[in-house]
């Protein structure tokens, strides 16, 4: 029974990828035909020759890295306060943090766009990155703060009593204890930023083109092979990142399990 479930899960994960691959390297596979009639790399070639494809991947990657870094730097102290301390206004802080996931990004994006146009951030990589923070921060803060809620400050108190300075404690104890959650939080931030479509479009104003933007344009066009190739390029990096961190996630399985 367990194996059946496991097999089903892998099928769900792998099947779309396989389908995308097939569509990417074939032409003219239409509905009633059981197999594609022709295999070809021309569509793939064409997509890769289009400078917007690689450019979009590169810009998306740069933005995702900036966003991940900023998310961690901002989320860490906030998550520590939310996870460890009891203070008045804590619930309001949570509410504000979760508003972006609940209030439509569309409304936020339009407001931000007006603001960013004024300060010259609209259409820049920095502007788009800052906008992405709105979607990534809830995830990173949530992940880290649920780890902090289970974090026992007495480890730090021990180190303090043993003569460690605050900086020594931060690097030798706090960061070491939080490593698994930091990995998960970074993963979340990277992937959410990588997949952002709406905010990129609104703030980027046509100047910042990432893969999701290209994919949406292609989706309107309608050539299944083009869509499949861009989807493949789009899904591969997240899949690789997940695979890469899966070992880490598994190794710290217990920590992660406790976290949720």
């Amino acid at each position: 029974m367990k194996y059946v479930i496991r097999a089903l899960l892998y099928l769900v994960l792998v099947a779309p990828l396989a389908l995308f691959i097939v569509y990417s390297f074939t032409e003219g596979w239409f509905f009633p035909a059981p197999f594609p009639s022709e295999w070809t790399t021309t569509t793939f070639q064409r997509a890769m020759d289009d400078p917007r494809t690689l450019g979009g991947m590169w810009q998306g990657f740069v933005i995702a890295v900036i966003v991940s870094l900023l998310s961690l730097i901002l989320a860490f102290p906030a998550a520590r306060a939310l996870g460890l301390r009891q203070f008045r206004g804590r619930q309001i802080a949570w509410l504000v943090l979760f508003l972006p996931t609940v209030v439509p990004p569309l409304a936020i994006g339009m407001g931000l766009n007006i603001l960013f146009l004024r300060v010259g951030l609209a259409g820049t990589i920095m502007g788009v990155s800052l906008a992405h923070l709105i979607s990534t921060l809830p995830y990173t803060v949530f992940t880290l703060s649920s780890a902090f809620a289970r974090y026992d400050e007495n480890y730090e108190h021990q180190a303090l009593a043993l003569g460690a300075s605050p900086a020594q404690i931060f690097f030798n104890i706090t960061l070491r204890m939080m490593t698994p959650s930091l990995v998960v939080a970074t993963l979340f931030a990277f992937l959410v930023s990588w997949s952002q479509y709406l905010l990129t479009l609104l703030i980027g104003g046509g100047k910042i083109i990432t893969l999701p933007v290209l994919l949406f344009t292609a989706a309107s066009g309608g050539n299944p092979s083009t869509i499949a190739i861009k989807s493949l390029l789009f899904i591969l990096p997240p899949a690789l990142v997940i695979a890469f961190t899966a070992r880490e996630l598994n190794r710290h399985g217990n920590d992660i399990r406790e976290q949720y």
Binding site: N154, Q158, L162, G163, A164, S165, P166
Partner: protein, 327 residues
């Protein structure tokens, strides 16, 4: 939390803070360690206030109920942590760790992972980690509370030995009377943030100074009344003979449950009572007796006869064991 707290500890002494949960015992240790901040008052080491000293420079180490060994370090790295933070050379650290491991009776486990230690071993390693920095003050916050009885008793003796050998000034916090008595040169009873008694364990056990302290060390029977000419007129139960003939006026006398006797016939200082329950406690029989309005526990050394619920008996209070307590 702490109300009227004042305690002075001599160099090399081991003092126990004994109190029920929520009495503020741990707060005292956290204030000294600098984990919590003092609202008003002072903490002095050798006459000098340490309030302005940074917590990590105070030389006061803390050990908790959980060992809090760093899970990502092995035994050697854990014990050496404090020295490493102070920039001591690795070769020196190695020697010190070795010395500490033999002191705590676990030589050769340097490379062991923290997760492979038993509860008792973990606490021994935590003790080594605390002692290796040669602190001025060692503070132990219920370090044995989560251990099984036999391990606990062994560690009590071990900690006491190590403390005596190193002559390190130590504060031990516990809620367990038996542990407190075994572990201390002097023992402070802490109730609701207040020190109600501070003396040698033998003295506090046999002659607690006030009713609250007496209750905490297991005294159950308090006779309140007018004393004169060697007699106490206790309103609740009747006249009782005292050893001290000079005592005059309103006063409270108490007696430990193991000094009370139960008998069938009336004699001097015997009070009529009814047995409420009778529980076997191994070395002793514990009998609850109702004396008019009062109820008291009596501990009879074994072998002793069982008493039935509702049985009429006389409870004898030997005059030499009655002692006065402040109300």
């Amino acid at each position: 939390m702490l109300k009227d707290f004042s305690l002075s500890i001599n160099d090399g002494e081991m003092v126990t803070l004994l109190g029920p949960s929520g009495s503020g015992k741990s707060t005292v240790l956290k204030l000294i360690a600098g984990i919590e901040q003092l609202d008003n008052g002072d903490i002095r080491f050798d006459g000098e206030s340490i309030l302005q000293t940074e917590p990590n420079k105070r030389g006061a180490v803390l050990m908790f109920q959980k060992s809090y060994l760093f899970p990502f370090l092995n035994v050697e790295e854990n014990i050496g942590f404090g020295l490493k933070m102070q920039g001591v050379a690795p070769s020196v650290i190695q020697g010190e760790v070795k010395r500490m491991l033999s002191l705590i009776g676990l030589p050769g486990i340097e490379k062991r992972k923290v997760g492979q230690l038993s509860g008792g071993e973990g606490q021994r390693v935590a003790l080594a980690r605390a002692l290796v920095t040669q602190p001025k003050l060692l503070m132990l916050d219920e370090p044995l509370s989560s251990l099984d009885t036999s391990v606990r008793m062994n560690l009590q003796a071990a900690i006491r030995d190590i403390q005596r050998e190193l002559g390190i000034t130590t504060i031990f916090v516990t809620h367990d009377l038996s542990e407190a008595m075994a572990m201390s040169d002097r023992m402070a009873i802490l109730l609701d943030g207040e020190v109600t008694a501070y003396d040698k364990p033998e003295t506090l056990f046999h002659r607690p100074p006030c009713v609250r302290s007496a209750k905490f060390v297991g005294v159950d029977l308090f006779l309140e009344g007018e004393a004169s000419g060697g007699w106490l007129d206790a309103a609740d139960v009747g006249r009782v003979r005292l050893n001290d003939e000079s005592k005059v006026g309103r006063s409270v006398f108490a007696i430990r449950p193991e000094h009370i006797r139960i008998q069938k016939e009336e004699t001097e200082n015997s009070l009529a009572g009814v047995v409420q329950s009778c529980l076997f406690r191994g070395e002793a029989l514990e009998v609850q007796v109702r004396l008019g309005e009062l109820t008291t526990r009596v501990r009879l050394p074994m072998p002793a006869p069982m008493f039935a619920h509702g049985e009429n008996v006389f409870v004898q209070l030997p005059a030499e064991y009655l002692f006065e307590v402040a109300a």
